[in-house]
């Protein structure tokens, strides 16, 4: 049984058809990369899974259950954590309250544990989230998702716009999450960073999956890299 499985998902924004028969899967304990250029459909795929933009057709199964049509809050409660590309911290609340208000599925993750993973956050607990730097906001959105003790994390371009040093730290933290048994679907434009982390990759372009395989497969496939990833 695959952990997360999308089958022929089609998603629209109003009349514009964005995702075309997208199929992909994530196994337990894996980090799977979803690579693609600007506007390729990475974020839309994430939002389709989280039901923020519900797909019009296709199937999405998580832990063997059909989850299509369920509300986002129920998906979170079944164990899917979502970290959006534009971060969307709750700007009016303090860092601590951003973590505090999240629905807790069980006691696995606590604020203390989040602060251990992201020590800089512990020092700015009381600061309003709207006043944080990009890196701090990214830690906070990941920490926020972790508060629900997710089994699957949807990380949408987590390194976008961050300084190299912070990207490095974040990569380590993502690997730590994997070692804790959390499965991750990671979308990236930054192919180099992504390939260091992932077990398998999908390449998406124009709303269609163009390639699927291991990191090695992709690295040796110049054609795909050139056409869809600009590397």
């Amino acid at each position: 049984m695959t952990f997360l499985e999308l089958t022929k998902v089609n998603t629209f924004y109003g009349l514009s058809h964005i995702l075309f028969d997208v199929s992909l899967s994530v196994n337990k304990g894996e980090i799977v990369g979803l690579l693609g250029r600007n506007g390729a459909g990475k974020s839309t795929t994430m939002k389709s899974i989280m039901a923020l933009v519900p797909p019009r057709s296709g199937f999405i199964r998580f832990k063997g259950q059909d989850i299509k049509g369920k509300d986002p809050y129920l998906l979170f409660r079944t164990g899917i954590g979502y970290v959006p590309d534009d971060r969307r911290v709750f700007a009016d609340l303090s860092v601590d309250d951003n973590l505090e208000i999240v629905y807790r599925r069980n006691g696995d993750w606590t604020k203390e544990k989040v602060y251990q993973l992201f020590p800089p956050l512990a020092e700015i607990k009381d600061r309003r989230a709207g006043h944080l730097s990009g890196g701090e906001q990214q830690m906070l959105t990941i920490g926020r998702a972790l508060m629900g003790s997710p089994e699957l994390l949807l990380l949408d371009e987590p390194t976008e716009g961050l300084a190299p040093l912070i990207v490095k730290a974040l990569e380590n933290q993502i690997l730590q999450l994997k070692s804790m048994g959390i499965s991750i679907l990671l979308s990236e434009q930054n192919v180099k960073s992504a390939l260091k982390l992932v077990d398998r990759v999908y390449v998406i372009d124009n709303g269609r999956i163009r390639f699927e395989g291991t990191v090695k497969d992709l690295e040796t496939n110049e054609e795909i890299k050139k056409r869809y990833l600009m590397v």
Partner: protein, 298 residues
């Protein structure tokens, strides 16, 4: 006593009148602002709930014999009655409409206010009702400069800050309050961290409407409880909310203060046209700060 001192006395006593009016205005418009800020519903029916609160106060007070006991029971039960009514309205109608445009919501709540008005007429009839001031609040207290202040007004002056503090605690210290502050800005993201936003909205709506009901009960002993009392109030409440900054409950407090004081002092300055002063104040405030005095959540 010379005329200067007399004038001073008059001004001071009008300020007290204005402040007790402020209390009512603040309680009602803070509830409206809360709903506007979090649920994004410009609820015209908010005034109707205030009116229904006052009518319910009349019934409850009557039921308990009309004396002091009647008043206290009304203070307890009428807001709860209004809260229940609002919960039914929210679950029955509003919860399906959060994604609609504001104009549509405005029209809907206007329709609802007409329906509530007719319901009140059906249940309570068209005549005036009055709710007696409880025994303990009969009489005056002379505080400063020999000005006698009706005890009930003094009571209102106490209730205002108590409500403000409770509201502050609700919004800033409870989980529900924090969630609603987050949902005011990004309700989808709040849903995506496992929170059933629909429930939160229901709770916030009920809290806001409870405040309308409370305002209605508190005003009841000072006015004739009558059909149409919703109209004046909803106008004033909207202006106060706009003046304070949409969705900002502290803005509602400041707006209510300005409105209440302009009302009471205006009567002193120009008795025949006192009514224009609060509206002039609104115009001036909005000319200086078009988006309202405090930060709007819109």
């Amino acid at each position: 006593m010379d005329t200067g001192a007399l004038l001073f006395q008059k001004i001071l006593s009008q300020i007290f009148v204005g402040l007790s009016r402020t209390t009512i205005l603040f309680i009602v418009s803070s509830g409206m602002s809360l709903i506007l800020g979090v649920l994004r519903i410009p609820n015209i029916a908010h005034g109707s709930l205030y009116m229904i609160g006052a009518f319910m106060a009349f019934s409850v007070s009557n039921f308990f014999g009309g004396g002091s006991q009647g008043f206290w029971m009304a203070l307890l039960l009428a807001p709860i009655g209004v809260a229940i009514l609002s919960l039914i309205t929210e679950r029955g109608i509003f919860q399906f409409l959060y994604k609609r445009e504001h104009l549509m919501l405005l029209l809907l709540t206007f329709a609802l206010s007409l329906i509530f008005g007719d319901l009140v007429k059906l249940v309570w009839g068209a005549e005036y009702k009055s709710v007696p001031v409880p025994q303990v609040f009969h009489g005056h207290l002379t505080l400063v400069a020999g000005i006698p202040i009706p005890l009930y007004n003094l009571f209102l002056l106490l209730v205002g800050p108590v409500v403000a503090i409770l509201l502050w605690l609700f919004v800033n210290k409870t989980k529900m309050g924090k969630i609603s502050r987050a949902a005011a800005v990004d309700r989808d993201m709040v849903g995506a961290v496992g929170i059933n936003v629909s429930r939160v909205f229901a709770a916030v709506f009920v809290v806001g409407c409870l405040l309308a009901g409370l305002g209605g009960v508190l005003v009841a002993p000072t006015v004739n409880v009558t059909l149409g009392m919703d109209h004046t109030l909803i106008m004033e409440a909207f202006l106060i909310v706009i003046m304070g900054g949409l969705g900002n409950i502290w803005g509602a407090l400041i707006g209510a203060l300005i409105f209440g004081l302009a009302q009471s002092l205006g009567i002193l300055i120009w008795p025949q046209f006192g009514i224009i002063f609060p509206y002039a104040a609104v115009v001036i405030v909005l000319m200086i700060k078009p988006t309202g005095l405090l930060k709007s959540t819109w």
